[in-house]
């Protein structure tokens, strides 16, 4: 049943670029980019219980890694993804090490300050030759290879779709096994987890690294799709947008990342006509309202609803839970 649903989603996703115009295709590409970043945040905050208000910073590091490799070293676009992944894994792991000593609020504070400082670090003149300073770097959009009959937007869409599927399958595999149970155990009962022999320090730093890796891959894809990186695209608002997407999509789930990405990208689009301030106001209101009535987000709500429906149909059969 679940597999069929997933196949249907993938089938629809495959048809999309041929039905929609180039601009819509590009937007859907960005939705997938955001979904990958949100998935990283879900793994860290939802599953491992570590807070981050600074994932925009790791997204920025991924973007810049890809952009610098492409603009200065002529590395092909697809090869920048593993590089961005590795750089962000290392950056996340290193930031996660001191963060180990921090509990909830203070981790949020430390990551917030990282995100706030990021644009000024990127603007720093000492590394201006590499980063392009305030102006940033301009990139070229890749052409479809092997003479495929696709235009640039369509090709980029399929490339991103493939990466997204790989990243989601990897996350699913990571979370459903032994490692995933350890990650969740650290969130729920840190002391008991340690007593059971889980190396909490290592797991927490590694989770931070993996989460940053997801943000980094998303950042690299985003840079390739937008063909431009500049310090001011990575303001604190980006990190807030990730938090909003994660919370509203459903931070305790994998699928929630997709709902969250749609929300974060399309709500500003729909509301921008009202006022420049409207998207932010809507984000803020939704955040608070969701915390009041639906802290499990859209994905969590759907799961509860389907469990409820199943109970109605099958009588009192027990509800099965799992990492979905």
């Amino acid at each position: 049943m679940k597999v069929l649903g997933l196949l249907a989603v993938i089938a629809v996703a495959t048809v999309m670029p041929f039905v929609l115009g180039d601009y819509r295709t590009f937007q859907l590409t960005l939705v997938m980019v955001y979904a990958i970043a949100l998935l990283g945040l879900n793994i860290l905050t939802g599953f491992n219980g570590q807070f981050s208000l600074g994932h925009g910073a790791f997204y920025a590091i991924g973007s810049y890694t890809a952009a610098i490799l492409m603009a200065h070293y002529n590395v092909p676009y697809w090869a920048t993804l593993p590089a961005a992944a590795l750089v962000c894994l290392a950056a996340g792991f290193l930031f996660g090490l001191p963060a180990l000593r921090l509990e909830g609020l203070f981790l949020a504070l430390a990551t917030l300050s990282l995100a706030v400082a990021m644009p000024s670090i990127l603007k720093y003149r000492g590394i201006g030759d590499l980063t392009g300073g305030v102006q940033g770097l301009v990139l070229f959009k890749p052409e479809a290879p092997f003479g495929l009959p696709l235009n640039q937007d369509q090709w980029l869409y399929f490339f991103t779709l493939a990466v997204t599927i790989v990243m989601f399958v990897l996350a699913w595999n990571l979370l459903r096994g032994r490692v995933g149970r350890a990650i969740v155990a650290i969130r729920d009962q840190p002391i008991a987890a340690r007593a059971m022999g889980i190396n909490t320090a290592l797991y927490k730093s590694l989770t931070f690294g993996v989460s940053a890796l997801y943000a980094g891959v998303a950042g690299a894809l985003g840079a390739i799709a937008i063909q431009f990186v500049a310090p001011d695209s990575f303001q604190i608002g980006l990190s807030f947008a990730f938090l909003i997407g994660a919370v509203i999509g459903g931070i305790y789930s994998i699928a929630g990342a997709i709902f969250g990405a749609f929300f974060v990208l399309f709500v500003p689009h729909l509301s921008e006509g009202i006022s420049r301030a409207a998207p932010q106001a809507i984000f803020g209101t939704f955040l608070i309202v969701f915390m009041f009535v639906m802290p499990v987000g859209i994905a969590g709500f759907l799961r509860l609803a389907s469990a409820w429906a199943r109970r109605r149909i099958h009588g009192n059969s027990p509800v099965r839970g799992g990492a979905t």
Binding site: F240, V247, Q280, G284, M291
Partner: protein, 292 residues
């Protein structure tokens, strides 16, 4: 650079440090009362400053607008606590609380932009324009220093010598016992929010003449205030004040002599991470030991 110039840099750092100190004090007050760090503190201060600006535009003299803004902010802080924060009082979930703070941050920021546009506005200073000490300290910086110190003294007197101040400290220290002796703990928290909002309003009105009034003006101030609060010890009001002043001086000295003005925000990042890693309780803070 001469010793004299260095000394003057320290002085002007102390003046800006006063702003960080008062916002840091607001952060610490809420932390002491609720063990939450209010990420929306800066935006609350910014919104208060807009109210003051509006009052002045309507022709109310500066000090009248100043006091009125403090009163309005106090009520606003209490209302926010009662409506938005209170439902999460009982829940320990950090995720919920921080998310609500971010939501509050976004709402206040966008409401200010919606109501008063995003254009820069100049905010008047009540102090003489004349420069002192060889041009390093403006009249406003000196006045700001005085206002911040006076505010801190008032806060100290309030907590130290009034029954209400004592009740608030008791409610923060041990809510259970306070409830037993008849203190309405929940309302004490709301009052704490009101006071923090009022303190933030003072900080906002003092910082606005230096940086221009706009919805994002408190962003960097808040980060410095956080750094100051952590440096001094997040549960120690005096530590927070000293930490705030120290951040002002550090910002100036590092900005002029070491890293340049571009990387100023990075100083705050380094201090925040550094303090949290090396000595999470800050210089004057108490180490908290929890029983498992």
């Amino acid at each position: 650079m001469s010793v004299e110039a260095f000394f003057l840099q320290v002085l002007s750092g102390l003046a800006t440090g006063g702003i960080y100190a008062s916002l840091a004090l607001a952060v610490v007050m809420i932390y002491k009362a609720t063990h939450q760090v209010n990420f929306a503190q800066g935006e609350m201060a910014m919104f208060s400053t807009y109210i003051a600006w509006q009052l002045i535009q309507w022709g109310i003299p500066y000090w009248g607008a100043f006091l009125l803004t403090i009163a309005v902010s106090f009520v606003g802080g209490v209302v926010i606590e009662r409506t938005v924060i209170r439902p999460f009082e009982a829940r320990e979930a950090v995720l919920a609380v921080v998310t609500v703070f971010i939501g509050l941050f976004l709402i206040l920021n966008s409401m200010a932009g919606w109501t008063w546009e995003y254009t820069l506005k100049s905010f008047p200073s009540p102090f003489p324009k004349q420069a002192y000490l060889g041009g390093y300290l403006s009249g406003h910086q000196l006045g700001l220093f005085g206002v911040v110190l006076a505010t801190l003294a008032l806060v100290y007197v309030f907590f130290r010598f009034t029954p209400l101040g004592l009740a608030m400290r008791a409610a923060a220290e041990s809510p259970e016992s306070s409830r037993l002796v008849g203190i309405r703990v929940s309302w004490m928290l709301a009052l704490g929010w009101g006071l923090a909002a009022a303190l933030g309003a003072v900080a906002g009105m003092m910082v606005a003449p230096l940086v221009f009034l706009e919805p994002n003006m408190m962003g960097f101030v808040l980060i410095y205030a956080f750094a100051g609060a952590l440096l001094g010890g997040i549960d120690n009001p005096w530590g927070a004040v000293i930490g705030g002043f120290a951040m002002g001086v550090l910002e100036n000295i590092m900005g002029v002599y070491v890293v340049g003005t571009e990387l100023k925000l990075t100083i705050a990042l380094v201090i925040i991470v550094g303090v949290l890693v090396v000595r999470p309780s800050g210089i004057f803070g108490r180490r908290v030991v929890t029983r498992v």
